[in-house]
């Protein structure tokens, strides 16, 4: 990993068109400004990773799993009196 030291107001550039600027450092938090082309998605890593991890787990579902939850869904719907929301 490349480690760089920067002060507030200073910037690093990644490639030709991505810039990360240190906006502010306060109370143990760093505020970053990211300039990147529109087609580059920028996420906070934890949200991005959570969604990605959930996708990987969800991809393991098989046909029997769905059969099982369909029955549970229908049962729940019946219990709630016909699922008027549907």
């Amino acid at each position: 990993m490349l480690v760089l030291t920067r002060k507030p107001g200073q910037t690093i550039t990644i490639g030709d068109d991505i810039k990360v600027t240190i906006m502010e450092i306060k109370g143990g938090q760093v505020k970053l400004g990211v300039e990147a082309p529109k087609n580059i998605a920028v996420y906070r890593e934890e949200v991005y990773l959570k969604v990605q991890q959930e996708n990987v787990i969800a991809a393991q579902a098989g046909v029997p799993d769905l059969k099982r939850i369909q029955e549970a869904w229908l049962k729940q719907k019946t219990k709630k009196g016909g699922g008027d929301e549907i």
Partner: protein, 140 residues
């Protein structure tokens, strides 16, 4: 067009039934072509089957069946990526995770799949500040 799938055998998908997912589903960047399958399904669940990888498929559900006010705010560049002209042309689905415990069935509300029904372009959108969970329980 015919495609092989590991779960459903061969499926026949019309050209206009192919959904092109921009940037792929997170974690599966190679898979760009998908289709919706309602084979063998009762109730609100559908399959989102990859046409680039026979093994890859997700169970999906319309989140408004259990959260009426569920809404996705697309960033302008996200709307542009799937050529949205009118929000009404978008379908929104959430991926369902089925745990080994029968009641542990959750929907990923923080990473919905938005499909432009007109252009058949789609995108998995990450809702960063929405407060929506990646594991919202949908069964009691």
């Amino acid at each position: 067009m015919k495609f092989e799938t590991s779960r459903f055998g061969q499926v026949d998908v019309r050209e206009d039934g192919i959904i092109h997912i921009k940037d792929g589903i997170l974690g599966f960047p190679e898979d760009r072509r998908f289709c919706l399958l309602e084979l063998d399904t009762v109730g609100p669940f559908k399959w989102l089957q990859s046409l680039d990888n026979s093994n890859l498929a997700f169970v999906i559900i319309d989140p408004r069946l259990f959260i009426k006010e569920y809404a996705v705010a697309l960033e302008p560049e996200e709307a542009e990526a799937i050529s949205v002209e009118d929000p009404g042309e978008c379908m929104v689905y959430c991926i369902v995770t089925i745990g080994s415990d029968p009641s542990n069935v959750t929907a990923n509300l923080a990473g919905p799949i938005v499909i432009n029904a007109r252009t058949r372009q789609a995108k998995q959108v990450v809702l960063v500040d929405s407060g929506y969970s990646v594991r919202h329980r949908i069964l009691d």
